[in-house]
Symmetry: C2
């Protein structure tokens, strides 16, 4: 089973990396951008084939290692195969 | 209009960051992980409201700045509002 995890900064948390990308886009002439937020994206190949167990495992991975839940949100999508 | 951009390493390109996450998960006792690939995730707020024009603009941003197309693939999703 495959898990796709999006880790994004909570709204209200400053995103200097997104701001830097925004500035770089503007300086390249891309004016039509109001805001940029940068997050992380992880693809995990899991041995587990049960969706519920897989989700529980990935939730534990997110809270213990992948995301800083003080300032970040995570979102998990599972996919067979 | 909102654009979500996923930038991932092409298959076959070594992913040391994903490997480091994999090792860290294993050392925390998460054994059921076969592989980890790490990518980037960007949310762009665009002024453009026409989907075709927005996609063309974000494609240009990806090829010129956001992605290194020699080793990375990008995927663009657009969303109204």
């Amino acid at each position: 089973m495959k898990a796709r995890v999006h880790i994004t900064l909570k709204s209200g948390v400053l995103d200097p990396q997104g701001k830097a990308v925004h500035n770089a886009l503007t300086s390249l002439g891309f004016d039509g951008v109001d805001d940029v937020r940068q997050g992380k994206y992880l693809e995990l190949d899991l041995v587990e084939s049960d969706a519920e167990q897989a989700r529980a495992a990935v939730e534990a991975m997110c809270t213990r290692l992948l995301a800083n839940t003080v300032i970040e949100d995570y979102q998990i999508e599972l996919e067979d195969g």
